[in-house]
Amino acid sequence: MTNQVPGLLSFYFWNAVLLTVVISLVLLAWYRRRVAQGMRRMSRMQAEGSIVDGRTVVAEDPAIGPIDAVADGQSATDMAADERRLRTRLVVVYAAGGAAAAAVSTTLYLVALGDPLYPVRTFALWYIFCWPIVPTLAALLAVPQRRALLGFAAYVLVGALIVGTWTALLRFALGSVDADAVRNVQSYFVLLFLHAWLPFLIILVTGNRRLRSVSPFVLAGLLVFSFSNLVTQNALVAAFDYRMFRDSFTSFDARSMRTLWFMLAALPVGYLCWRGLSWLSRRFECKAFSDTQLLVDSWWLIVAFQQSVDFANNFGWGGLAGLLAFVAYRGIVGVGLRSWRNADRGRGNGRLLLLRVFGFQRRSERLFDIIAQRWRLRGGVKLIAGADLAMRTIDPADFIAFVGGRMQQSFVRSVRDLAGRLDEARDPDGRFRIVKFLCYDDTWRPTLGALLRRSDLVLMDLRGFSAANSGCEFELRQLAVNGLLSRTIFVVDAATDTALLEATVYDQAGEASAVPLHLERLTARSPAGLDRIFQRLCTLAADPPASGRSRPQASIEPPLLPAAP
């Protein structure tokens, strides 16, 4: 009799959100542990002794590409213009999608009120429902969180200013005595708070950089699971109307019966979820959407759902029409991105390889967040995965492989593995992907060789570098061998053994071909320093080598990689 729909929807939805946070954290920690374990092991191929001796597979294999793969240069103006165009495209398309969703929500809200249309109120409602556009654009444009929060505050204040000014105009210019600017602004703030506080909080949590790589994916699965729970519960209630069913369960109390029923129903539901997530993963792999698109879509779904719960107070189950806002948003975004295509100038000179001293999770994540994420509008980012960045770089395909027990597919073991991962195409939102290479202890060196040959720029974080970091020494020698020293920015700090750094690279490159190194000193927390590094990378990318990159002078450790099994 009572309209329990709002409560039911809230209950099952927020349970899914709560579990999303917990399960995401558990999975990420587990995944990180597995990556760390894998890095310490040998590949299966070597264990079985099937390396093709002496073959420089990586360097010559057509699947990997030629050694001198530096693209024709784009001018600095071209690169900046391209990025501006892409940013404009994202802003316009996603703002239009958000505005359409807000229009749907506003219409439903006004229908629920049943009052005549008032222009100020209609605008205020629409503007309030538009609020998710701000976090959406912040995520898509890789705006730092502090700046995004300031942007949100500015959005709120601009709305209040418009509502206040408009109401004042109605009162003083048109003589509308009912118009009270102060009261309208107050109502605007109250309504915005009531509608936005909970989804905003969820967006803050799921948008956390540690969680965001898996949280949308986990949320999608758990929402299906959670609402299947609601459906099975209703099915149980209906089944009990039949005496035959009732008589079969007389020996159970209500809670045991509910538990048994749900556990049984969870199996087919779980299978459906798994199929659904696998489908999403395949769609991601074939570039139907980017990881950030998936994230912001999940936010819009959360917002639309929260509005549905509000509408359910008036419309019962009809309140689910609030989800039409999500349909409108996704439809507009899909059409917008398809019809406003990128003027793709190819990959340009933007292929960035990120190298680092392993073992400094926090600072590696910071460098990754500020530079790698921003770089994606200019070019692809590649890196050899490590436990330090595992939680930042896991994507839907990795997630499915990991949970499905097929993590070995994510590790590089052969030429085919490597070739299959060299992804240099843009996603529908115009961004390149961050491609990480999970390597065994005996495959990271050949992988590095291959990546160097497919990179235009290198950013190497050598903070804390010392003689103990033999892996970095190998990387430095490879940079010299591949003639990439002039295309590399070295991030150093007071703890970096710069003498060892110079000795290592010059020893390999030879004094004659020695080039000055691009050293960037960075203190522990320095946003300005990271920004400076980003700008320097942009300059370097827009300044291609005069005559292409020279072939390696000598291979100190021939980059061997086993052939595909």
Partner: protein, 260 residues
Amino acid sequence: MSNRPDVERGLALPRKTPLAQGLWFVAIVWSIAAAFLALEFAWPELLRWSIGAGWLPEEIAMPTQERMPAALVCRQADVDAEQAATVDLEDPLAMRQVRYASWMLGQQFGFAAALANAGFADAQTAPLREDLQRWAAMLHLPTPAAPRSVHVLNQLNDFGDHLEADPQCVAARLTRRYGPRYGYLYKFGAVVGYAVPARAQNIGGSFALQIQLYGRKAGIPQELWLPMTLDSLADLPGADPREKVAGVVARLSEHIATSE
């Protein structure tokens, strides 16, 4: 034997055979399902505990007329248009009779509804219904009619909602004529009456929240209604649950019949 390293198994551990894979799938799915069930059971318990501790008002977990279809809810305007009282409000004896009749009306109504929902035939509950009519007539009220539930499993909730909706304006009329305590006394009697058959079968806990709220608002001392909200009647005097619950109801009746 393969010497494939452990990491190749990803999250999974024993995944060599289809049976092992199936078991792994079941383990993952049931872990997630168990987490959902834990939340599903934990939130209501937390709410109950918070209300019991006095941190939250009982009303927060109660059905409200605002969330019910208007056609099923008592129209207060109709009640307000009626005659205010049919007895002398200053006469203590008359008011004691009204109080007792309100309690009995509710109790008989709840008891009859519970028996009907439990599958008792009309013939078996006929004496109860006659009693009910007598109490209603004594108070110049319509005889309360039990709600029809679409689903058997929703009968308990539907009765609680029905009582709150008060479609025949029984509680609303008592409130209008004699004061809020009388309306709550009727509702208190109804939830206690509905709970009695279950308590007699040693099944506890139904309408605990309503008993607490209505009992308090009707001015019934806590020690009298508290046993009806507990999961077990083990600490009460009596040979069996039936006798124990009969004792609780008798003490309530005696208090209502004798107190001012």
